[in-house]
């Protein structure tokens, strides 16, 4: 059976790196899985908040349209059981003066594919994306985020934070795409990854595409172990290494979690991450 | 005998369609030191930028005359070559261009003569010593990684090296400690003589210690609302702007 394509890197690169395409996990292809479809329409000038804590649906598709001056706060928390695969794709179009706040957390599932596409179609529209992921065991996380800046004076911000432990593998593709005519637009992208032990695999693919001169774009990636001096400091205050790790990873995730409006959900994710660090293989 | 250097006549200017300067009249003679005071947002920096010809501001009415020549339509570099210099409030950081390279290029552009590298370097070194700037800074990129005080001293270094006829000093003393203000103030007084003039924006007046101030102008909401001699500086330092009369519509 031919593999079904789930998402692609907006501009392909060397094939040997294995980042150009993401294919649907086999279990979702062989056993056709119903796709839950969610449609969100934000009327002009209105604000909509939608929080999706997903524990059961293996395939989700969210499409949203934010009309002029509207704002959407979309929170998508993937909390599937650890033996299930899952996919989620999000597509949002923002009209003039519209604002999109997207918060994502990839916590569960054995293999997860997530795609987030935001089109800043209207002038002065804004996208603020913050996401976290935690990979442990043999989990595989595949993310493809694309913010397309079409309107004038649009603003994109993409902050992604993650931690990998055991033999988890992750690909994060983050693209800022400045289209011709997107004059006065700015884009910022940053991924911070903490690598908790050897045996992980981290692939980071930050793309910045520009067909417009009058833009200001920046992206950055940093990947490495926990800062030794910080770890030492915490341990000198009586914490053991695992406790120190929990604290540092917790701090890394805090700015993303703050955006989750429900305190119980925030608590649930923090606890889950702490527990997994506690039970890490090393 | 006095000679007029800069004459500003009924100057209206603004940015992005908003008028900031609403009719400024100001005349500066050679040999004079003028001070502009005014609360934040009164248009002081805009006035400096407009005199220098910042492309982000549009002159909608009035004129600027420099040594009898109308410069209202001149580009920034043409005004600089005519002899106007602006010491920036926040000097730009420009990677890849060294202080020395920029200064030599600028001086050649202004004088139209080739600078001998050796003589120029010697002069630069002397000026840097004078301003207590580490000599290695001549090879550093323009303002990149300079502290606030170093940037301001670098502005004065440029003033001394380029020897303009009119120096516009936009809060050159702000954010500096007492010693640094002394150095900057010494630099300005070294520059100033009977053939040139200074127009100074200041908040703390310490930069004026070594200078004889001729005229003080108080700017409020884009208009000069009060003028006077050096005594006005002390008065405003003491009493603030509160008692200065509001603009008359």
């Amino acid at each position: 059976m031919e593999k079904e394509l789930f998402s692609t890197l907006p501009v392909p690169t060397w094939r040997w790196l294995g980042v150009n395409e993401a294919y649907l996990p086999e279990e979702l292809q062989t056993l056709p899985t119903p796709v839950r479809k969610i449609q969100i329409d934000v009327p002009a000038g209105q604000h909509v908040t939608q929080v999706i804590a997903n524990r059961t649906e293996q395939r989700t598709e969210i499409t949203a349209h934010v009309a002029e001056g509207g704002s959407l706060q979309l929170v998508q928390l993937q909390l599937l059981p650890s033996d299930k695969a899952g996919t989620c794709s999000v597509a949002v179009t923002a009209e003039k003066d519209a604002q999109v706040y997207y918060t994502g957390a990839e916590i569960g599932a054995s293999r997860v594919l997530a795609q987030v596409k935001i089109d800043l179609a209207g002038d002065n529209s804004k996208a603020d994306v913050a996401a976290l992921y935690f990979g442990d065991g043999t989990r595989s996380i595949d993310l493809n985020y694309v913010i397309t800046q079409t309107g004038k004076k649009t603003e994109a911000n993409m902050q992604v934070r993650g931690a990998l432990q055991d033999s988890a593998a992750k690909i994060f593709r983050g693209t800022l795409d400045f289209k011709a005519g997107s004059k006065g637009s700015t884009g910022r992208e940053k991924e911070e990854v903490v690598l908790l032990n050897e045996g992980i695999r981290n692939r980071s693919v930050p793309l910045m595409l520009s067909a417009e001169e009058d833009v200001n774009g920046q992206h950055a990636v940093s990947a490495g172990r926990l800062d030794n001096s910080r770890l030492f400091y915490l341990m000198s205050r009586g914490l053991d290494e695992k406790e120190a790790r929990k604290l540092v990873v917790g701090a890394l995730f805090a700015t993303v979690l703050e955006r989750v409006p429900d305190a119980d959900l925030r608590e649930e994710i923090s606890r889950e991450v702490e527990e997994r660090i506690e039970h890490g293989q090393r | 005998m006095t000679e007029t250097l800069l004459e500003i006549h009924d100057l209206h200017a603004g940015a992005a369609g908003r008028e900031i300067l609403k009719g400024i009249d100001l005349t500066i003679q050679k040999g004079e030191v003028h001070v502009i005071l005014g609360p934040n947002g009164s248009g002081k920096s805009t006035l400096m930028n407009v005199i220098m010809g910042h492309p982000g501001y549009q002159v909608t009415e009035g004129s600027l005359t420099f040594e009898g020549k109308d410069i209202t339509a001149l580009k920034t570099f043409e005004r600089a070559r005519a002899g106007i210099f602006l010491s920036f409030q926040t000097p730009e950081e420009i990677p890849g261009i060294t202080v020395e390279n920029m200064l030599r290029t600028a001086r050649q552009a202004i004088t139209g003569k080739r600078e001998r590298i050796f003589g120029f370097r010697k002069e630069l070194k002397e000026m840097m010593e004078e301003l207590q700037i580490d000599p290695s800074y001549s090879e550093r990129y323009l303002n990149v990684g300079f502290s606030g005080g170093e940037k301001k001293r670098n502005e004065i270094l440029q003033l001394l090296m380029l020897r303009p006829k009119l120096a516009l000093l936009d809060e050159t003393d702000s954010g500096l400690d007492v010693d640094a203000v002394q150095i900057v103030s010494r630099g300005v007084s070294k520059f100033h003589n009977g053939d040139n003039a200074c127009l100074i924006i200041t908040h703390n007046a310490r930069i004026l210690d070594k200078l004889k101030v001729d005229r003080v102008h108080v700017l409020k909401q884009g208009r000069i609302v009060e003028e006077g001699g050096p005594e006005l500086v002390d008065q405003i330092n003491r009493d603030g702007f509160g008692h200065i009369k509001e603009t008359t519509e």
Partner: protein, 468 residues
């Protein structure tokens, strides 16, 4: 203004577009067949193993598809390309013996003068053959070998056999396979253990025939604790047909050795520059790449560094300037295989007049590369609204004990920076040129003076009359 523009462009054309009459004594048929490969091999009096190597590579070339990524190279039709063009005359050891016309070309490009003033050895390749090769006697006395590649195949056959296309095997990609089949000319450098070549060696490649290909092979071996700076310059006159450059550079940096490989490439705007460069760096070794890409119609160039030994290092400094009609896809790859390896990648790209510049890179950290460090910094400048600039880095990390940092910026020259400089009396155009030169300063600094000057001249040629 217009006047000046025309004037300057005229200079540029006369310098790089000198087109000599085609006096070649021998030309292969168009297209690529086994017969042609046998022909080339016969002409070069290849040893039998080399003929076999060529034929095997040809097989691979037929089999391997074109890459699915990168710039559009569909206009390249291999059947239209005369793969082998041999200019008249024999190889010379004395500049006076080089045919007048060829000599005049190189003279105008300043090659012999560069040799007299600042280089310890020069190789000049004209189309597919090396016409001139010299190396200072002091160096040859120390055992340094610097010769054209054909001579190396015969005189240093064992070394060539051991290293040739081992680092870039023909199966790597279609153009590596093509290179393996049709390679011609190039340089061979061998620096014995402990020898430091203090003055740079230089090779200059020039493609003169229309619709031809240049497939030179460069093989440099720096033995333990030796050091070398090698400079490669490339140019070609402008023709209306597509030319192809598919060279191959293989660099072996042994334990504790240092090699700096500098390139200023200014191929004419009809050149497809599909070049493969790779370095293998052993323990404590250092490869430094300095790469300036200005010419060609399409470039795909990503020098790669395989850091094979502990503490092996790579420093990559690159500048790419894409102007009208150019699609320049450049960057670097680094593969970190050993503990405490490190890489610094620093690039600047400029796009203007509808040119497209892409920064593409791959950093791979394998599980064994504990303590690896890699810092990437790339900045892109767009000079007008017709141009395009893309940044496509990939980092693939398979161990936790790493420090990986990547930063990229894209934007235009700030109006405030222009205002600052013009307020000092510098005209707008000059201010912009200064800022662009400042932007590429990290690269200029890494180049020998005369090349830094040439690079600045190239930038000025590109900028004058087209901005402001």
């Amino acid at each position: 203004m217009e006047q000046q523009k025309t004037f300057v462009e005229d200079i540029e054309r006369t310098l790089y577009d000198i087109r000599n009459e085609d006096h070649s004594v021998y030309k292969t048929e168009r297209g690529l067949t086994e017969e042609i490969i046998r022909d080339i091999s016969r002409q070069k009096k290849d040893p039998a193993w080399m003929l076999d190597f060529r034929l095997q590579s040809l097989e691979k070339y037929y089999r391997i598809p074109l890459p699915v990524w990168g710039p559009d190279i569909s206009e390249l039709n291999m059947d239209d390309i005369v793969t082998y063009v041999r200019p008249g005359g024999k190889m010379a050891g004395n500049w006076q013996e080089v045919p007048e016309e060829i000599k005049a070309t190189f003279d105008r490009l300043g090659i012999p003068e560069a040799e007299r003033t600042s280089l310890s050895g020069v190789g000049a390749q004209y189309d597919s053959e090396v016409v001139y090769h010299r190396v200072q006697k002091e160096l040859s006395d120390q055992g340094v070998i610097y010769t054209d590649f054909e001579t190396a195949v015969h005189e240093y056959e064992d070394i060539v056999k051991e290293y040739f296309m081992k680092l870039v095997p023909p199966k790597d990609h279609k153009f590596a396979a093509l290179h393996g089949a049709v390679w011609s000319g190039g340089s061979f450098v061998y620096v014995p253990e402990g020898v430091h070549v203090d003055i740079p060696l230089q090779s200059y490649f020039r493609l003169n025939a229309a619709g031809a290909g240049q497939f030179e092979h460069t093989l440099i071996i720096c033995e333990k604790n030796s050091s070398l700076h090698f400079i490669e310059g490339c140019s070609a006159p402008r023709y209306n047909v597509t030319n192809l450059h598919a060279g191959c550079v293989e660099l072996y940096v042994k334990e504790g050795a240092r090699l700096r490989y500098s390139t200023i490439e200014n191929w004419s705007r009809n050149m497809m520059n599909l070049n493969t460069k790779r370095a293998l760096v052993e323990k404590d070794g250092l490869i430094e790449w300095v790469s300036g890409s200005f010419g060609s119609h399409v470039s795909c160039l990503y020098p790669s560094s395989i850091l094979h030994g502990e503490n092996a290092r790579c420093e990559f400094t690159g500048v790419t300037f894409a102007s009208r009609g150019q699609d320049l896809d450049t960057g670097a790859t680094v593969v970190m295989l050993a503990p405490n390896t490190s890489a610094n990648i620093n690039t600047r790209t400029i796009s203007k007049s509808g040119g497209a510049a892409t920064y593409r890179s791959a950093v791979k950290v394998t599980p064994g590369a504990k303590g690896a460090k890699c810092l990437v910094n790339c900045e892109s400048l767009l000079l007008d609204e017709k141009s395009r600039s893309d940044t496509l880095p990939v980092m693939d990390i398979e161990t936790d004990d790493v420090e990986i940092g990547h930063e990229a910026k894209i934007g235009r020259i700030s109006d405030e920076a222009i205002f600052y400089l013009t307020s000092r009396g510098i005209a707008e155009e000059e201010a912009q040129a200064m800022i662009v030169r400042g932007f590429v300063e990290p690269v200029a600094k890494a180049l020998p003076l005369e090349y830094a000057v040439e690079m600045n001249n190239l930038i000025n040629l590109e900028l004058v009359g087209s901005m402001g």
